[in-house]
Symmetry: C2
Subunit: 263 residues, 2 copies
Amino acid sequence: MSAPSVRIQESEAAEEGGSQAVKAQQRLREWILAGDLPGGSRIAELALVERLGMSRTPIRAALMRLGQEGLLEALSSGGYAVRTFSEREVADAIELRGTLEGLAARLAAERGVRPAVLKQATECLDQIDLLLRQGALDDDSFSAYVRLNGQFHKLLSGMADSAVLAREIERASSLPFASASGFVGVQAHNPDARDMLMVAQHQHRQVLDAIAQREAGRAEALMREHSRLARHNLGLVMQNPQQGGMPGVQLIRTQKNTPLSQR
Amino acid sequence: MSAPSVRIQESEAAEEGGSQAVKAQQRLREWILAGDLPGGSRIAELALVERLGMSRTPIRAALMRLGQEGLLEALSSGGYAVRTFSEREVADAIELRGTLEGLAARLAAERGVRPAVLKQATECLDQIDLLLRQGALDDDSFSAYVRLNGQFHKLLSGMADSAVLAREIERASSLPFASASGFVGVQAHNPDARDMLMVAQHQHRQVLDAIAQREAGRAEALMREHSRLARHNLGLVMQNPQQGGMPGVQLIRTQKNTPLSQR
DNA sequence: AAGGGATTGTCTGTATACAGGTTTGGCCTT
DNA sequence: AAGGCCAAACCTGTATACAGACAATCCCTT
């Protein structure tokens, strides 16, 4: 009878999630990506009851959704464990997202996009240009870039005007290292960071141009190629594991941190 | 105290689903696809408690999973409703599956496939050939075709050796009209049925050949084109809505069956 | 002393009770 | 007669109680 009395301390952030289940999902995701709940460890519901200060029902819902999301894997004997990823799985997830975004770009080019939306995307890219023109990039600039980059990718996935596809892209981007902005932070304190972002920005421009010109094949190919940047950054992280610029890196298995028997 | 006493009557089929939640999910899916629970109608949990003879907990789990699966949509005010699809949404879902299977074919060709698996796929295609050589196709032949076709597609998605991708293909195929074998039944009593299946079979052979020859681009393009057959069949169904060869057709909105206010 | 079996503890799956909210229907008022 | 307001019923989200299963540990037997 102790848990119910200890009400949730509203966390430090102003996360006013709607239902208890959503709150649980958000906080669990944070914990997993922050490297709290370590990769491969089994999740005990009762421990979460205590830690989250809510009953098992919303926790079970959150676990199930995180399982569908791919961050947890359902154990055959019941329950869930924090999932770990091989480098190749991460590469595949990035390839998957690139392919889906490529499809979105192609459909957008084939079907045509309302001028208002194109204008919106152009303005978004203009803001990124403004950011990159500053030269040196501080932390604020980087977080601004991440935000704008995410916005552009979302606009792009919306241009296909396909709820089915948009949802699937959303899904494929839910893993942090597969998302469009996931690995940007890796470059944050790299001297070549700005150059890489310039390349990315060029690709952004070209994709948008291809869509505006109704060049479907070009748009698709460009968008796929664009995702290779993330894959490149994945390679960088795996070579220099010390840079912890990305949330969730510790979920990626390396030869070193893999236990004796991993699945 | 009536529900617990009335044990589940084990259904008419020998569906020995594991947990109650899985059983609920399976039977709900059947009901939705059979046109029981009509499209757009809200699902009341308590009604299902009575109909399924189990408590709300596994039912809620099943509803949540069907929501993620795309067959139900979550209502803003809570609860779920049977989802309906526009013809374009269905076409997009097919395109999505084709794109994903194309990616799988490309990866398989790039990475190479173990000879044993290639042999397995070839034997699968041989069996289909045997079936098609019979000439006229009765119902048994068709169900055998559907099974073999599904098996081939599953083998193909496995050839990429990517759990991430296989899972996503599985997901994209969960909607019946998006699945590889979904529209095959449409042709079941069409005189041109066998011709269409011959074309499909030719594409199967070519894809497998491309993968074996490590021709990645060709494999991807072929697999994408292969999905256009399903799209063609979708067009047929929408023109002649009377043929009810496919489960779930009634979930597709037409101008006629769309209520005054849809969504 | 070592191995096997039994017992106990814990954990998940399931059932149900409870509270807050939303919707619907009826009644009153204009 | 029509519209608005109030009330009641239902329905979802949440909490908790219960039962079966799995596992680990300890004791007994060989």
